[in-house]
Symmetry: C2
Subunit: 530 residues, 2 copies
């Protein structure tokens, strides 16, 4: 099968092909030379001044194109401490701030939430030119600094590393920042304070989001998104340990899943398609397909023109669904206990991140009970009535009432998390299982953090005939949900589940005031960039 | 603030409000009674026949609405064994097959990939009517069976539980299946065999996908998707242990990320939006924002009208990106070693799943080296030329050549996984870093499984000026990528990464022939349902 057609070693006279090859090679060599020249021009050779004793110790490095596998091992700022005194280290970090002061300069290096002070002073190997060069490096540039670790004369309050500083001996710019920053990191990281004497320079939210890659560099944002990754991890671990299988559900669907409102439509080749408003139908199909217990993490889309502190047009759903044997509380309890594990995991494993965020945005520690508190809807309504709210038994919770109830529950039970069970049937989607004894109620629940809903869930109707009946009662055109209904025609175990908004969990756990703070690149009706 | 407006206990004469309440209560009670009657009608009372000694031991259960928290603990089929002989167990499972035989019936219960044989025979507590009822239960119905565990007379070859069977004493239908199944599970799970004497009833792919919730019930599909969840888990664990942070990237974007071709567009309120073709730009922004090492798992959309065995319009991307110190091989090696960990984890923790899949779709075990094999592109081209392929040095790999190279590598190095480094610059996206010494090449790599590409990655250009230059050379309108370019203006570390297609990894690891087998609900130009 494999034949060798390679003519390279043949003894024929130069063929047309060979000539063509030679010509190509010549062109290539010319291009190569030109390219090398360009490369050299880009490197900075400014340090070749006469009389500069620091030649070769500072300057702009050529753009890293993986020219060399250098043996230099860089140290992390967070690992600096007194035990390293007198050792020479190399750090790569951002230039956070700098100021020249006569024949010396002080500058602070920042790497994520860690900062260290560096000093450079004119001396045998440090020229005035080198000091000038250092003072002219733009803030936010990434630089390599070689220097000696020295015990600090006094505690350096302005840095996270407070007991040592670095006497710099080499300073190279790896990647220079533009001179003008659209926002100052120091402003963006300033604690929110009510102190009228405090510095009041704030960075407004649109400026932050327009320049998100700068804004995200603050210690608070570094911490928020590390913790958010932790929520996903803890969610998965809690469920994997209970025998759940991770599945993936499609975002492109042929019909609006939760009724036609608030759905993004699009052209799909010759057809029409929509963006899934939840993985609801797919995780239920997975149950009908015998996966037993499933979870999925993925994008959720809502074409809702809501410009509030807690709505996004795209967010991340943490969804789960499970078959149960007798009663939907089997599932509800799994979810409740899962939340307890998440809260415990965050408290125990993300204490530094929580402290960092609280330093800028103060909030009370998140309280939870184990096992979690579970109230029935009517108990919640009774508490609200006792607090002076007039409402019907089966009236939906308005946002203010939801928040008030959260405060009442906190006051009475000392928990920021609770479950509200047995919602009125009328306020739930068509696929919610009605209560077996009273059609006013349903086998459904919401879960709340600091008085805001973060999970909505229920026992789902697993019987195709009854599902049709309920869809009709809701006025849903059956042809739009036919494949969903068909999923229950071939035997399906009773099942329940829920969907969680990741950004809401992060926001409310940390006590943040806006969901955009918990979305790395938030999407709302007015924003789809960056 | 909280006042008590509750008038329930006041001694006033019945007010208008109270009258209204009473009326409502009456209406409610009427509704409740009607509802209960409906409920009862739905329950099956057929067992009340005269002379039936099995009354109460069989029948159709009313639809589970979480009526009761019963104490019955169900056993899993997989946990049945000889140690349980003579014990009474309750199982909930699907009726896989059944056949009556005079005064007895044999039926097989199936739960995921596990099956067990049950026997029921006329006796003191088992009536003819009960046998008839059992024989009439439709296949795929979910039933509760109580019975005694008994040692099997001889090995039951047709079931996964071979040493015991169940003497059924109670049989209740939990959820009945429709009589006519659009596909038979036994056909869908039949091994692919070349044996001309073998049963040749195959279920074609469209029938499978049209009725995916039935198709997914086969042992093979149960195993495929459990293993696919495992790939995600192993990917994350390999990266988390190396200090990576999980991030979430938006799918709704304002401009086509990888050029205008193959992108789904849509209306976004008053604007236009697109579906992200990769999280590329966002993971790079996370690097520019100091997250250091990031990964993300999420939906990827390609409006490509390709109807091949390995293309989907929506798939799941496993993406990662990391800052490196000196050379992009730091990142490439992390990715290569991560794959080794994934392959080892699958081999060690998913042996049962792999065996189950191989039973239906035979494939050779997946081979890999530790550390993985890495070849340069030109070495790959040399191997192809040696095998008789004529191609230019910098010509892209055609699909047939890619596969041939996979076979050549397998023959020479005995590995199904390898890395091909230093691709021709011309065949890579504009943001790929060119090789530092020769503009013909680039700092980019692909990784292959069984001769098909599953990862594409590179060192990215982290310098805004150079990025503009390269974008212009590719003819990309700068205004469409301005916010991307701006991300590199404020200092960015050199970085590299890659993107992996989850379904391709699953398909190729298991040696499946079509990517639709590795997508729970696949999307292609012709399919967006179910």
């Amino acid at each position: 099968m494999m034949t060798n057609d390679n003519k390279e070693n043949s003894e024929d006279a130069p063929s047309k092909k060979a000539l063509k090859k030679a010509q190509k090679a010549a062109e290539k060599n010319a291009k190569k030379a030109e390219y090398k020249a360009q490369n050299a021009a880009q490197a900075d050779v400014a340090q070749e001044e006469t009389g500069d004793c620091s030649v070769g110790l500072y300057g702009n490095l050529p753009m890293n194109r993986s020219q060399e596998k250098l043996p230099v091992i860089h140290k992390e700022i967070k690992d600096l401490n007194k035990n390293l005194t007198n050792e020479t280290v190399t750090l790569r970090a951002r230039l956070h701030t700098s100021r020249g002061k006569g024949k010396q300069a002080f500058f602070v290096l920042r790497s994520r939430e860690h900062t260290v002070q560096c000093v450079i002073a004119v001396g045998e190997k440090v020229s005035k030119q080198m000091i000038k060069f250092v003072c002219n490096i733009t803030k936010e540039s990434i630089i390599d600094v070689e220097g000696k670790v020295a015990a600090a004369g006094q505690k350096i309050e302005s840095c996270s590393i407070q007991d040592v500083e670095i006497y710099a001996t080499k300073v190279f710019v790896v990647s220079a920042s533009a001179q003008r920053l659209p926002l100052q990191i120091e402003d963006a990281m300033r604690p929110e304070t009510d102190d009228p004497e405090g510095l009041q320079i704030k960075v407004n939210q649109d400026t932050r989001l327009d320049n998100r890659i700068l804004d995200l560099r603050t210690p608070t944002n570094q911490a928020i998104f590390r913790l958010e990754g932790g929520v996903c991890h803890l969610f998965r671990e809690a469920l994997r340990s209970r025998g759940f299988t991770e599945i993936m559900s499609p975002k492109l669907i042929s019909a609006a899943s939760e009724g036609g409102a608030n759905v993004f439509g699009m052209k799909y080749f010759e057809k029409e398609a929509f963006l899934a408003q939840s993985p609801q139908l797919y995780k239920q199909m997975a149950i009908a397909a015998d996966f037993g217990k499933v979870f999925t993490i993925g994008a959720i889309f809502r074409a809702e023109n809501s410009n509030t502190h807690r709505h996004l047009t795209e967010f991340v759903g943490l969804d789960l669904e499970m078959a149960f044997t007798h009663h939907y509380h089997e599932a509800m309890n799994v979810i409740g206990n899962m939340f307890t594990e998440i809260f415990r995991g965050l408290r125990d494993n993300y204490a530094d991140e929580i402290a960092t965020v609280n330093n800028q945005f103060p909030a009370k520690p998140f309280k939870f009970l184990d096992p979690p508190l579970c109230l029935e809807y009517k108990e919640g309504v009774a508490m609200l009535r006792e607090a002076g709210i007039e409402m019907e038994d089966t009236e939906d919770l308005s946002t203010p009432n939801e928040k008030l109830l959260g405060r009442l529950v906190k006051a009475k039970y000392d928990t920021d998390f609770y479950i509200l069970d047995k919602f009125p049937l009328a306020v739930r989607p068509f696929y919610t299982m009605p209560d077996p004894t009273d059609p006013k109620w349903s086998n459904s629940y919401d879960m709340f953090m600091r008085g805001e809903e973060i999970l909505s869930g229920a026992q789902r109707i697993h019987d195709a005939t009854f599902l049709v009946e309920r869809a009709k009662a809701h006025g849903i055109p059956l042809d739009t949900i036919q494949s969903y209904i068909d999923s229950f025609k071939y035997g399906c175990p009773p099942h329940a589940g829920g969907g969680i908004g990741l950004e809401r969990v992060t926001m409310l756990y940390l006590g943040l005031d806006n969901i955009r703070k918990a979305s790395m690149f938030p999407r709302d009706p007015k924003r789809i960039t960056p």
